[in-house]
């Protein structure tokens, strides 16, 4: 298993501890609040992922073979999930990000927010994170 999914599994197990949806969501909301926020100046349209229900901003940096993400959303639940996704990928290598399968999301009980038809920007965001990794790979590691 790649590093992203390993980290993800650990994150998922945090969520599995909650019996009550409310506790889970309160935790998610807390996570959202601790998200490494994207700088206001980086909230540009090119960093915006538009969903009909909520909007997501995402930026990525490449440093010494590792990718670092920052994000934000106007909805706090979406922001919580942005935070979860970033936690799983932040500081990972491009190959791990590209290879990640994210099956552990099933265990978080948040899957419903990640349906392609939910249109909250999250599905597009996952795609975007992988695209960033691929772009960095081509640019900096061109093999």
């Amino acid at each position: 298993m790649n590093a992203v999914d390993e980290k993800g599994l650990a994150i998922a197990s945090e969520f599995e501890m909650f019996d009550e949806w409310m506790d889970k969501y309160n935790y998610l909301i807390e996570l959202g609040k601790s998200l490494p926020l994207i700088d206001e100046k980086d909230k540009t349209t090119s960093n915006l992922i538009s969903g009909c229900q909520s909007r997501v901003w995402l930026s990525a940096n490449y440093e010494n073979g590792k990718v670092y993400f920052k994000g934000d959303s106007d909805a706090i639940i979406t922001k919580g999930i942005v935070s979860v996704l970033i936690r799983s990928m932040d500081g990972a290598g491009v190959d791990d990000i590209i290879a990640s399968e994210l099956d552990w999301l099933d265990n978080t009980g948040l899957k419903e927010h990640l349906s392609p038809t939910r249109s909250n920007g999250l599905v597009a965001m996952i795609k975007q994170m992988k695209l960033y990794a691929m772009a960095f790979k081509v640019k900096y590691e061109n093999k």
């Binding site: 409310m22 969501y25 309160n26 009909c52 229900q53 909805a75 706090i76 927010h113 909250n120």
Partner: protein, 411 residues
């Protein structure tokens, strides 16, 4: 008759809608998304089943028994719809797959025929995309212009502005009977009168009107009235375009195909009479029979008292929601029905909706396919509770309690 018998019994009504007994995430379903689509009474479901189990067949021009039975039922449904909206003639009722298709039909048929370069089409700031985009597309095609009637902060059309807006370039004004976001009931008669004085056609988008008002197209005085069956207890995929016969007769067809023709040859094709001219291809016979069953159901339970009851629940909802701190209504028109839109200040509608959902409460959140209206109020979206004849005061209480939970978690 005993007064108690005549009284509206919401328990009896709820028993007609089996889905309402569903448990959602361990909570009994509280369904306040009726503006998107209503649930269907068992009589509608059974009527469609009966169609498929006994007379299913393609209609019109059949020589065999099933085909004649199905055709009779289909044409019966047309009469029933005509009666329901008090249309002068049943051939003025055209079956479509919904409001969206009805509007596209009218817009496209008028393009090039009535609408020419330099002409104007008038819509309002509170329209659903279905009553904006088809006109935009058609205007672009023929070189006409789309103009917009503004609304007030309380969500009412600035009807006075029509006097200057309705110039001679305007060929048609298309507007909602009831706004799907604000609940505003527009003054249809007044607008139609102003339009007709100037020889301008009127199309009323009745998607939200049909389930919350008794509609009389003659007294409304419009030229076209369109609505969706699925928002008035009928199956998905059903809709109606009503139009004045004289207009429909002179309009060119929209889609081409079987049924809508008189004679086809490669040198020239002539078209059938209305309503068939506008009904190309095999229609959703089962759905249309379901629509008839829905009308029968509403008649049977006395639609008038059902609406009165519903208004009562909605009024109760307004009063209850008002008590919630930080809740702000979007839309505050004097005459309202069907939907209540609001935002919890500081909370995103998506978050509110998600937390309500976890308590078994179904509302809709977002822009409700009315982005220009969201822009007008400078909000990303609203939470919308929309009502029906089976909702109860207890459900309103649950909504209020649920919103308090959301406020606690989010604010």
């Amino acid at each position: 008759m005993d007064l108690a018998v005549m009284q509206y019994s919401v328990d009896k009504i709820r028993a007609d809608f089996p889905i309402l007994k569903q448990m959602i995430r361990k909570y009994p379903l509280v369904y306040f998304d009726n503006g998107a689509t209503t649930q269907k009474p068992v009589k509608v479901i059974e009527a469609v089943d009966r169609y498929y189990l006994t007379i299913n067949s393609n209609i019109h021009r059949g020589v065999h028994y099933l085909s004649n039975e199905a055709t009779d039922a289909f044409e019966q449904a047309r009469k029933r719809v005509a009666t329901f909206i008090n249309a002068p003639e049943s051939r003025e009722v055209i079956f479509t797959k919904g409001t969206t298709e009805s509007i596209n039909l009218v817009a496209n048929s008028l393009a090039g025929f009535l609408l020419k370069e330099g002409d104007e089409v008038m819509v309002t700031e509170m329209e659903h995309h279905a009553n904006i985009v088809p006109w935009q597309m058609v205007c672009e095609r023929v070189g006409a212009k789309l103009k917009v009637v503004p609304i007030s902060d309380s969500g009412e059309l600035l009807v006075e502005s029509l006097d200057s807006l309705l110039t001679e370039r305007v060929k048609i004004i298309a507007f909602a009977h009831v706004s799907n976001v604000l609940g505003t009931i527009n003054p249809v008669q007044e607008i139609c009168a102003k339009a007709h004085e100037r020889g301008i056609l009127t199309l009323v988008d009745g998607a939200q009107g049909i389930a919350h008002q008794t509609v009389d197209v003659q007294s409304l005085g419009c030229d076209f009235y369109v609505f969706s069956g699925h928002k008035m207890y009928a199956p998905m995929g059903t809709g109606v375009l009503w139009g004045k016969a004289s207009l429909l007769e002179s309009m060119p067809p929209y889609q081409g195909g079987g049924e809508m023709i008189d004679k086809v040859s490669f040198t020239g094709t002539t078209y059938n009479v209305i309503p068939y001219k506008f009904e190309a291809g095999t229609p959703d016979v089962g759905g249309v029979i379901g629509l008839m069953a829905a009308i029968d159901y509403l008649t049977e339970i006395d639609f008038g008292s059902a609406l009165e009851y519903e208004e009562g629940v909605m009024h109760y909802a307004y009063e209850s929601l008002k008590q919630i701190e930080g809740l702000r209504f979007i839309g505050d028109a004097k005459r309202r029905t069907g939907v209540i839109s609001f935002i919890l200040n500081g909370a995103h509608p998506y978050d509110v909706g998600s937390i309500l959902d976890h308590q078994g409460i179904a509302v809709r959140t977002g822009h409700h396919c009315a982005q220009p209206l969201m822009d007008r109020f400078a909000i990303p979206g609203t939470v919308r509770a929309s009502f029906s004849i089976y909702n109860t005061r207890e459900e309103v209480d649950k909504l209020v309690a649920g919103l308090k939970v959301a406020a606690n978690m989010l604010l």
